[in-house]
C-alpha cells in the first residue's frame, strides 16, 4: 500500500510537471531566437547587448530571445535542428564547423548580399576571412580567441622577443629535478603547435583543400619543438592543460603559450603579463603565427525573418556592442574600431590579444579540417616519443588525411 501511495504521488508530480509546460511563445511581432554556447560573464554581457537591442527596437516589434546550449551538445543540436527549420534565427559558433554546415546545406545563410562595404571594413581583415567559405561570406565575426605568451612577471621581468631570447630566459628558469620549467605549453597538441607550424610558413591545406601535412616547413617546425624539449630541455613532459595550469599557478612555469581561456584559471596570487609570441630566429626572424578561432554570428538559412536577423547580427558586431562584450564579457571583439576606445585600449589583456591577432592565421573552416586532427595528433605523439622521425610521421599523417579526403569525395 505504501508503494502504491508513492506511485500515485509520483504520477501526480509528473502530471504536474507535464501540465506546467510553458506555453509556446505566441507569434506576436517578430521574435527572433539567438543560440549561443556562452556562460558566466560572456553570457551575461551578451544578454545585456541583446537587451539593449530589444529596447531600441521595441517600436519595430523586433525582440530577440537568447538560449544558451552546452558546448558539447551545441554542434549536434544545430546540425539536427536548423536544416529542418526548427532551429534559431541567429546563432553564434566558431568558424571550424562553418564549412561542414555549408556543405550539408540549408543551415547558414550567405550574407554577401546584405553586406555593405563599410560593414565589411568594420572588422579585423583576418577575422572576416574566417567567415568566408569558397568566396562567399556567411557570417560576421563577433570575437576571436588566439594563443599568446603569458608570463609570470616575478620570474620574467621582460618578455622575450625572439626564440633565441626565449630559450635563454627559459633555460635559466628551468630545474627539471625540482619540477620547474621556463616554458610550458601543450606542444603535443596540434592546435598549439600550429603557431610554430604557421611561423615556419607551413600549413595543413594547399589550394583545392589538398593536404600538405608533410611539407618541409611543417617538418622544420616540429624539429624546433624537439630542440626545445630535448636539447634545451625547457618544457615539461606530457603537458596536459591541467598540468600547465598547476605549474603556472605554483610559479613553476615561468611562461606559457595559451589563450584567453587560461586567464580565468590563473590564481589570484600570480602577477602575470601578456606579450606577443616571440619571433623565430630559426625562420629568419618571422613571427610565430597562432591559429585563431573566430566566433561568428550567422543567420540561419531557414529563418523566416532574415532581414531582421541580419540587423541583429549587425548590431551584435557593432562598436557599441563590442565595447560591452570586451569590457564586461572579457572577450576580444573582431570589431577594429573598439580598440581605439580609451577604456579598451587601456586594457592590457585586450590589447595583447589585439597585437597577437595581427600575425594570427584563421584556422581553416573547411570540413576536411576535422580529418586532420587525429592523424596530426598521432604524428606529433610519435615524433615526441621518438617512435618515428618527423618526416616519416608527417608522411603517414599526410597519407591518412589524403585517404580520408578522397573517401569523402569519392563518387
Amino acid at each position: 500500500m505504501k508503494n502504491l501511495r508513492l506511485m500515485i504521488a509520483a504520477v501526480c508530480l509528473c502530471a504536474l510537471g507535464l501540465v506546467s509546460t510553458p506555453a509556446r511563445a505566441a507569434d506576436s511581432g517578430k521574435e527572433l531566437v539567438l543560440w549561443h554556447a556562452y556562460r558566466a560573464e560572456e553570457k551575461a554581457s551578451l544578454e545585456k547587448v541583446v537587451a539593449r537591442f530589444n529596447a531600441a527596437n521595441a517600436s519595430k516589434g523586433i525582440k530577440v530571445k537568447t538560449l544558451a546550449v552546452p558546448y558539447d551538445a551545441y554542434a549536434d543540436k544545430i546540425s539536427a535542428t536548423v536544416p529542418r527549420g526548427k532551429g534559431p534565427d541567429i546563432f553564434i559558433f566558431a568558424q571550424d564547423r562553418l564549412g561542414g554546415w555549408i556543405e550539408a546545406g540549408n543551415t547558414v545563410e550567405p550574407i554577401d548580399f546584405y553586406l555593405e562595404d563599410e560593414v565589411r571594413k568594420r572588422f579585423i581583415p583576418s577575422t572576416m576571412e574566417a567567415m568566408t567559405y569558397r568566396g562567399t561570406t556567411y557570417g560576421l565575426p563577433l570575437n576571436y580567441k588566439v594563443v599568446t605568451l603569458i608570463y609570470n612577471k616575478k620570474l620574467v621581468p621582460t618578455p622575450p622577443k625572439s626564440s633565441g631570447e626565449l630559450v635563454k630566459v627559459a633555460k635559466k628558469l628551468t630545474d627539471k629535478k625540482a619540477g620547474r620549467f621556463g616554458l610550458a605549453y601543450s606542444y603535443g597538441d596540434f592546435y598549439y603547435h600550429a603557431s610554430l607550424m604557421n611561423g615556419f610558413g607551413g600549413g595543413v591545406f594547399g589550394p583545392g583543400t589538398t593536404p600538405t601535412l608533410n611539407s618541409a616547413e611543417n617538418v622544420k617546425s616540429v624539429e624546433q619543438v624537439l630542440k626545445w624539449v630535448e636539447k634545451d630541455g625547457i618544457l615539461p613532459a606530457e603537458p596536459s592543460s591541467a598540468l600547465i595550469t598547476s605549474l603556472f599557478n605554483e610559479g613553476k612555469a615561468a611562461m606559457v603559450f595559451s589563450g584567453p581561456w587560461f586567464l580565468g584559471e590563473i590564481a589570484k596570487s600570480v602577477d602575470y603579463g601578456l606579450a606577443p609570441l616571440p619571433t623565430l630566429d630559426e625562420a629568419g626572424g618571422k613571427p610565430m603565427r597562432p591559429w585563431m578561432t573566430v566566433e561568428g554570428v550567422y543567420v540561419s538559412a531557414p529563418s523566416k525573418n532574415k532581414d531582421a536577423a541580419f540587423e541583429v547580427v549587425k548590431y551584435l558586431t557593432s562598436e557599441e556592442a563590442a565595447k560591452m562584450l570586451a569590457l564586461e564579457g572579457r572577450q576580444s571583439p573582431a570589431n577594429q574600431a573598439v580598440y581605439k576606445d580609451a577604456q579598451v585600449a587601456g586594457d592590457k589583456v585586450l590589447k595583447a590579444f589585439r597585437d597577437q591577432v595581427e600575425v594570427a592565421v584563421p584556422m581553416p573552416n573547411v570540413p576536411e579540417m576535422s580529418m586532420v586532427w587525429s592523424p596530426a595528433t598521432s604524428a606529433m605523439n610519435a615524433i615526441l616519443k621518438k617512435a618515428s622521425t618527423p618526416k616519416a610521421a608527417f608522411d603517414d599523417a599526410q597519407k591518412a588525411v589524403a585517404k580520408d579526403v578522397a573517401g569523402l569525395r569519392k563518387k
Binding site: V33, A73, S79, A80, T81
Partner: protein
C-alpha cells in the same frame, strides 16, 4: 569479535581485502569531493615541491582540499536555475520510471505467461535492439520525435524516448523474474473468476516487487544521466534537465571543474539515496529472476 565463532577462521584478512578494495573504490570519488569543496576550478593535479619527501608525496596523493569552501555549491545553485533543472530531471526521470516500468511489466508478463507465435522473435528483438550502436541515432530520433510527433521542447517527449530505451533491459529482467513465480496462484485465482488484468495487478506485481524495483532504478538512472538528447530536444533554458545544466561547466575552451564536481555531487545524491533505499531489492531483484527453482 573479528573471529567467526563457528569456523575458527579469522576475519581480519577479509577485512584487509575489503578495506583495500573500498579504498580503491572510493578514491576517485573522494577526488570529486575534494575538487568540489576546494573552491577552485582546476582538475586537481598533485604537484610537488623540490626534493619531495615521502610526506610531501603522501600529501600530494591525499584527496583532501587544502581549504574547505562551499563556494562552488553556492555558485552552482544560484548562478543558474539549477533547482529548476533538478525539478525537470525529477519529473522526467519519474515519468520515465512510471511509463517504462509499466510498459515493461505488461510486455514481460505476456512473454512470461502466454504462449503465442512470435514470442521468441519478439523477445529476441528486444535484446537485439540493445546491440545497435547509437552513434547515428540522434537525427532519426529528432525527426521522429520533433518533426513527426511534435514533441520538441516537452518533457513528455523526453519521457517517451527514455522509457523506450530502458524497455529492453527491463523486459528481460522482469520476464526472468516472472518465470520464477509459480503459476498455481494465478490458476487458483482464475478458477475463482478473476480476470487476467486483476491477477496481474493484485498477485503478480506485488510478488515481483524486487525486480520491479530494480527495473525502476534502471529506468530512473537512464533518464537521470542522459544529456545529449535532452540538450537537443529542449529549446528553452527553463526546460533543460540537470545533466544538461552540468555540461555548461565543461566543454569548449574553459573548464570549470569545481562547479562541475559540485554539480555532479548534487546530481548524484538522489541516485545514491535511491540505491540505498532499494538495496535490499537490488540484490534479490537482479538475480532471483534468473535463479530458476
Amino acid at each position: 569479535m573479528l573471529r567467526s565463532r563457528r569456523e575458527g577462521m579469522p576475519h581480519w584478512p577479509l577485512h584487509v581485502v575489503l578495506v583495500g578494495f573500498t579504498l580503491f573504490t572510493i578514491y576517485p570519488i573522494l577526488w570529486v569531493l575534494t575538487i568540489a569543496f576546494s573552491g577552485n576550478q582546476s582538475l586537481a593535479i598533485a604537484t610537488l615541491p623540490e626534493a619531495p619527501t615521502v610526506m610531501d608525496r603522501l600529501r600530494a596523493i591525499t584527496p583532501w582540499p587544502e581549504t574547505w569552501s562551499f563556494s562552488n555549491f553556492v555558485s552552482v545553485m544560484t548562478d543558474q536555475p539549477f533547482a529548476k533543472w533538478m525539478f525537470n530531471s525529477v519529473v522526467v526521470a519519474l515519468g520515465t520510471t512510471v511509463l517504462g516500468v509499466f510498459l515493461a511489466c505488461t510486455a514481460a508478463y505476456a512473454f512470461s505467461r502466454f504462449k503465442f507465435p512470435g514470442q521468441r522473435t519478439g523477445l529476441m528483438a528486444f535484446l537485439v535492439s540493445q546491440m545497435f550502436p547509437g552513434t547515428l541515432m540522434l537525427i532519426p530520433l529528432y525527426i521522429i520525435l520533433v518533426q513527426w510527433l511534435g514533441l520538441g521542447s516537452s518533457r513528455l517527449g523526453l519521457i517517451i524516448v527514455y522509457a523506450t530505451t530502458s524497455i529492453p533491459f527491463s523486459v528481460w529482467m522482469l520476464k526472468g523474474y516472472f518465470d520464477t513465480i509459480p503459476k498455481d496462484l494465478e490458476e487458483a485465482a482464475l478458477m475463482e473468476g478473476a480476470s487476467v488484468g486483476r491477477i496481474f495487478w493484485t498477485i503478480i506485481l506485488p510478488l515481483a516487487k524486487p525486480a520491479v524495483a530494480v527495473t525502476a532504478l534502471f529506468s530512473f538512472m537512464t533518464a537521470w544521466n542522459e544529456f545529449i538528447l535532452a540538450a537537443t530536444f529542449m529549446d528553452q533554458e527553463e526546460m533543460y534537465t540537470a545533466p544538461v545544466g552540468l555540461r555548461f561547466f565543461v566543454g569548449g575552451f574553459s573548464q570549470q571543474w569545481g562547479y562541475f564536481a559540485a554539480g555532479s555531487i548534487i546530481v548524484s545524491v538522489p541516485v545514491v539515496f535511491l540505491f540505498l533505499y532499494l538495496q535490499k531489492y537490488l540484490v534479490s531483484g537482479l538475480t532471483a529472476g534468473s535463479v530458476k527453482g
